[in-house]
Symmetry: C2
Subunit: 216 residues, 2 copies
Amino acid sequence: MKLYGYWRSQATFRVRVAMNLKGIPPRENEALDLAKGEQFNEAYRRINPLALVPSLVIDNGPPLTQSMAIMEYLEETHPNPPLLPRDPRDRARVRALALISVAEIHPLMVPRVRNYVEKDLGLGEDGRVRWIRHWVALGLRAVEDLLDNDPRTGRFCHGDSVTMADICLAGQVIGARNSDCDVAPYTTVVRIADECMKLDAFAAAHPRRQPDAPKG
Amino acid sequence: MKLYGYWRSQATFRVRVAMNLKGIPPRENEALDLAKGEQFNEAYRRINPLALVPSLVIDNGPPLTQSMAIMEYLEETHPNPPLLPRDPRDRARVRALALISVAEIHPLMVPRVRNYVEKDLGLGEDGRVRWIRHWVALGLRAVEDLLDNDPRTGRFCHGDSVTMADICLAGQVIGARNSDCDVAPYTTVVRIADECMKLDAFAAAHPRRQPDAPKG
């Protein structure tokens, strides 16, 4: 398995954690420097026409893209330990919590969008920071409410086992902190994200621990 | 089952189509007028803290939110007809195609974001239209490339049966047309979306055919 990614990418973090949790053997990592625009190279666009990371290539087959689709694939092909609960309604809850990051917060702060806000719309760095803070605050407030008002919340988002919801939430909190967002008001969110980062599978996937991360 | 939605909402369209395809019996529809801000009502925020539609309430249980999570729930609880293929890699392909709409295009054009661009950023109606066109064009171009460069594409996105990818794509094309985006360059996308709309399950879910749609 060859994983195309970027040290700072939240979506790549999700796939790294899922692979670590499932003990999927050493893989080849292909780092694309998104800051330098390497994702727009012709060769990578053939793998991922939207020029986004991650992409996962297995046995030279057609590339898998979209972190949520890749996590579902890993869950189907490597069911242990499970990253989704058993009951369909519980699975829907976990997926919905995951999708608040995947489809509501993160899409508004990915490089292509934040660069467009800063440069193409001419709002500058201040404008970019305000933009990100606005959507992160709305999204994390909603996750906090969903966690606090549901007895199914435990040590992690759903009971005491790690699920896709935790993977997405931990990545979102790292991303929010890296973008100078204040996450302190979301005490349950932060409690769970910090709990996740105590686990080796999460810690080893942290952006700063990737070989392509800048030193220091 | 009680479905909270809005006639014009792409995400609600996805759930309506999935329910229609699976023949899930008549449901109660609760229309929220997003143009009037009814989604921000206190009562609805208890159902969906992010104030987004759709939400699906089953037997007065905890609400299901996020259209993709709801479609997966329907797939698990009402497996026929299937909306995902059998092979894990094919399932990953279908989910990834669906997620380009769910997580890359649609999040940038939902009311909360387009209103923010138009009003809070002060870019006006022109700015809003340019914003939407930019992200729709990038996203649909990528879907077009993925469809054209894969032998698994058939009458629909994946072979000759309808999947979640088609549901999301048909909704995205309706949304793009409603937002004055030119979809003509994406010939495979348009061919498949039009093919979908010939089916009763899709046609009956069209925004214009919903009871809360404005007349005429």
